[in-house]
């Protein structure tokens, strides 16, 4: 996981499930309704707001080619007509009446929707959320109108050279099922989406036993559970979508290869990606991966000194993104065309040394754990982020993983890090993408 992402994500968290005392300390409470909906309440009355969020196990990982991008389109259609609201115009007006700050996002393994509202708007906001999540109409007219909005979003993404690099590398790393790592989706699929396909997604994934309702802010657990029961218990349970539609496993990268992406850029970016651990299959390696990233991110690290203080790069990082369907491990560095070859060689040399016993000190390993613990305090400063953070972890790893994250990271040893590197990085095939201008490319010899 990216270091700063970890900081943001672990922030609020804290021990729950098996560690009830810690859960209470951090005011996080959980209950499952009879229809299977997980309700998570985060009590933090520091400001008179409540965030009402619904997370769904959906996203790119559920998408074969013919559905690629439709979790994302569905996310957009959430903000349109439903059984109680006749049009998107009225929908937006209602959001304003509620005084809501709102948004949604679609990722590889999660889709979320949220409204942050003044406490006084809590009940109408719950009703509003319930109607939107359970009864979208998918009016053909609105579906057609939303297509250019989505392609406009893709246009923006494709204007970003780093998006192009990331997409090109991902296609090779996840070569057999690339659509299942492409949340933005394919234009052709989005432009030909039908109401029927939207209904298929709804019936398959938008069932309470595949979702979580998170209520965070100025709300007690008693009130949260009572209101959740009152307003969400009539949402009808469905079949487990992952039994009827299992997600295929990404096969390993076939061979190490390099690709070059040309764009009008003014630096050379090196982007090396491996297939990393799946959290449900190898949780121990996910902690080791994060500990290593925290070590390498320190300015006293050999990694930083050899690659940044040496002047070979303007910046470098090695991160793992926690996911359940093999998260990516990415080494990213920026350099100049003139230094590219030396930089690449130095990176490869660094990777070879990374497993050596003396590569990092005991103090740096301890610092990594301290940083984690303090970052957790920094993260808790932002109550509005709690629900998103919790939603992400609920979706990709489960709440228990998330609540025990800090404790488990503290247990990481040198041997764990070495094993992680040996299992996923050292000698393993990878894809190296290089982003360069056409002029610089001539100097790179690629």
């Amino acid at each position: 996981m990216h270091r700063r992402a970890v900081i943001a994500l672990i922030t609020a968290f804290l021990m729950f499930g098996g560690a009830t005392a810690l859960a209470q300390k951090y005011q996080i409470y959980q209950k499952t309704l009879s229809n299977g909906l997980e309700v998570i309440v985060v009590h933090n009355p520091s400001v008179p707001l409540v965030t009402v969020e619904v997370d769904v196990h959906n996203g790119a990982y559920t998408e074969p080619l013919e559905y690629n991008g439709l979790s994302h389109l569905y996310e957009h259609m959430f903000f349109k007509a439903n059984r109680a609201i006749p049009s998107q115009e009225r929908y937006l007006e209602r959001i304003r009446e509620l005084g809501a700050s709102w948004n949604a996002s679609t990722g590889d393994e999660q889709v979320n929707y949220f409204f942050t509202i003044p406490r006084d708007s809590l009940v109408p906001a719950l009703v509003f959320m319930y109607d939107a999540i359970t009864s979208p109409l998918f009016l053909q007219e609105e579906l057609v109108k939303e297509r250019p909005v989505i392609t406009g979003e893709l246009d923006r993404a494709e204007s970003d050279p780093y998006f192009l690099l990331d997409r090109a590398v991902n296609k090779q790393v996840w070569w057999k099922y690339p659509t299942r790592k492409n949340a933005g989706g394919e234009r052709e699929i989005i432009l030909t989406a039908t109401t029927e396909k939207m209904r298929t997604i709804q019936n398959r994934y938008y069932v309470p036993n595949n979702a979580a309702l998170i209520l965070a802010g100025d709300i007690t657990p008693e009130e949260g559970f009572r209101l959740a029961e009152k307003y969400f218990s009539s949402w009808k349970r469905g079949a487990d979508p992952f039994i009827t539609n299992p997600v295929p496993e990404h096969p390993p990268i076939q061979r190490t290869e390099s690709i070059v992406v040309e764009a009008p850029v003014n630096a050379v970016t090196i982007f090396i990606e491996w297939q990393g651990p799946s959290v449900s299959k190898d949780a121990k390696s996910t902690y080791a991966a994060d500990a290593l990233s925290f070590i390498l991110g320190q300015r006293t690290s050999q990694f930083y000194k050899d690659l940044v203080e040496s002047g070979l790069t303007y910046g470098v990082s090695l991160n793992y993104q926690t996911l359940n369907q093999k998260g990516p491990i990415v080494l990213s560095a920026q350099t100049s065309a003139e230094k590219f070859e030396r930089c690449r060689a130095a990176i490869m040399d660094e990777l070879k040394k990374m497993g050596d016993p003396g590569y990092f000190t005991d103090e740096q390993l301890q610092n990594a754990k301290t940083i984690m613990a303090v970052d957790e305090q920094y993260g808790r400063e932002r109550p509005s982020q709690y629900s998103h953070t919790i939603g992400f972890w609920w979706a990709v790893a489960g709440l228990d993983y998330y609540l025990n994250y800090v404790d488990n990271l503290k247990k990481v040893t040198r041997q764990d890090i070495a094993q992680y590197l040996n299992t996923y990085v050292n000698g393993k095939p990878y894809v190296m993408g290089v982003l360069s201008s056409p002029q610089d490319r001539k100097k790179l010899g690629l």
Partner: protein
């Protein structure tokens, strides 16, 4: 809506929004250094921000970027904390230090937990008063900055913003880019940086804002020990002049992109004035209407935006990415005209105020953001106390006031388009 657009909106809006201190802010002075302090025992985090008044608006073109480079190098090593020691200590405590250079002011900020406050303060003050400016650090940071300047054109949004600032602030103090140019960044020596930094350490040109779990007594003692004997200087605050255009304009910068990036700037009222609150609500209502008319009803864009810039001599802007620029901008300007010709209803105004309340709380969640927002009001001349009365001021805004500020300010927009439209008529951009 995805994160990036949200980021644009939040960035634009956050600049000027109000602080909601955990407790009332208090202020005191030590050797001419004004200190604003907000005790907050709700968490163990302490935010310490030292602001240097003036920013790049007080520099000439040849000095552009000197403050950015100086501050970036200053936080790397000091007389009493050589690089290795400084890094090791910061990592051991997970104390963070950031440097930022802007047009109106610059800052070095510190974030730490309460138990590490005393030690972190020693490093922080040594960074300000005894930076080493080691030649190796200077060269490394210089190379990073040069690369960042070159790369600023790679991202269309960043490039558009830079082009728009250039087109809007012509022959104006804000035309001095705080990041500098390749030429100026290459020209500074280590001695230049050291001398510049030493000159900035005069208390009349500094403002310290602390928010967190400490006491005034402890803070006052620490400030006195560190800054009680440094020069006071004679800093005189002055706001950059207002910008006024007699005609609208459009500048097109050609680039092969899948869509066109477009923005138009107009003047906005000074912070803390009655007009500024009316403009904040006007901008917010316009944002809602642009989303509805451009995106929801016509599907012309994923990303129509209305916002305020966040400078002391402020500007407003509309922004969009669109494959049909003329049609899209016409719809956007029609909404501007509607705000000027028709007062908003009381219902819309009330709803908008509700959304403001929500945003108000969301934007003041961290101690660091509270410190920054209090400082913005103080440094702009409005005074930090006005920041605490923001909601009251918003409640007093009337539909007539909104209409009036729109009529007064939203004219002669200075447009910039980055993209490659086949044909472009000037008329739709002329307002």
């Amino acid at each position: 809506m995805k994160t990036r657009i949200l980021t644009i909106l939040v960035t634009l809006a956050m600049c000027w929004v109000q602080a909601r201190p955990a407790s009332p802010a208090e202020s005191f002075s030590v050797n001419g250094l004004k200190v604003i302090f907000v005790p907050n025992k709700a968490n163990d985090i302490i935010a310490v921000n030292m602001y240097l008044r003036g920013g790049s608006a007080t520099l000439d073109m040849r000095q552009a970027g000197i403050e950015d480079l100086a501050l970036r190098v200053a936080i790397l090593a000091t007389k009493n904390f050589p690089k290795e020691k400084l890094n090791a200590e910061l990592e051991r405590m997970d104390t963070r230090m950031f440097a930022a250079a802007g047009r109106d002011f610059s800052s070095i900020s510190l974030q730490c937990v309460q138990q590490n406050f005393t030690r972190s303060w020693k490093i922080f003050t040594d960074v300000l008063l005894n930076p080493s400016f080691d030649s190796v650090d200077v060269e490394l940071e210089r190379e990073k900055l040069l690369s960042a300047i070159r790369q600023s054109k790679d991202d269309p949004d960043q490039y558009l913003s830079s082009l728009a600032m250039e087109a809007y602030f012509v022959d104006h103090p804000y035309s001095v880019d705080p990041s500098g140019t390749e030429s100026t960044i290459r020209s500074f020596t280590g001695k230049d940086l050291q001398s510049f930094m030493r000159g900035r350490m005069a208390t009349s040109g500094m403002l310290l804002v602390v928010v967190g779990n400490t006491t005034r007594e402890e803070l006052e003692k620490m400030v006195n020990e560190s800054f009680g004997k440094i020069p006071q200087g004679r800093y005189m605050a002055s706001l950059p002049p207002a910008v006024s255009f007699q005609t609208p304009s459009l500048k097109v910068v050609r680039r092969e992109l899948p869509t066109n990036y477009i923005t138009g700037y107009y003047p906005a009222p000074q912070t803390g004035t009655d007009e500024s609150y009316a403009m904040s609500l006007a901008e917010s209502i316009l944002q809602f209407r642009l989303f509805e008319e451009v995106r929801t009803k016509r599907s012309l864009s994923y990303a129509p935006v209305s916002g305020l810039g966040g400078l002391f001599t402020n500007y407003g802007m509309i922004y969009v990415t669109a494959v049909q620029p003329e049609t899209t901008v016409t719809v956007m300007l029609n909404e501007v005209k509607k705000l000027q010709s028709e007062p908003v209803s009381e219902k819309i105004l009330n709803d908008q105020r509700n959304q403001y309340l929500t945003r108000y709380y969301l934007r003041t969640e961290t101690n660091g953001s509270q410190a920054d927002l209090l400082a913005r009001y103080e440094l702009s001349g409005a005074g930090y106390l006005k920041a605490e009365k923001y909601l009251e001021s918003i409640r007093n805004v009337t539909p007539e006031a909104i209409q009036k500020v729109c009529q007064k300010y939203m004219h002669n927009l200075q447009f910039v388009l980055l993209g490659n439209p086949a044909e472009l008529k000037l008329a739709p951009f002329t307002y």
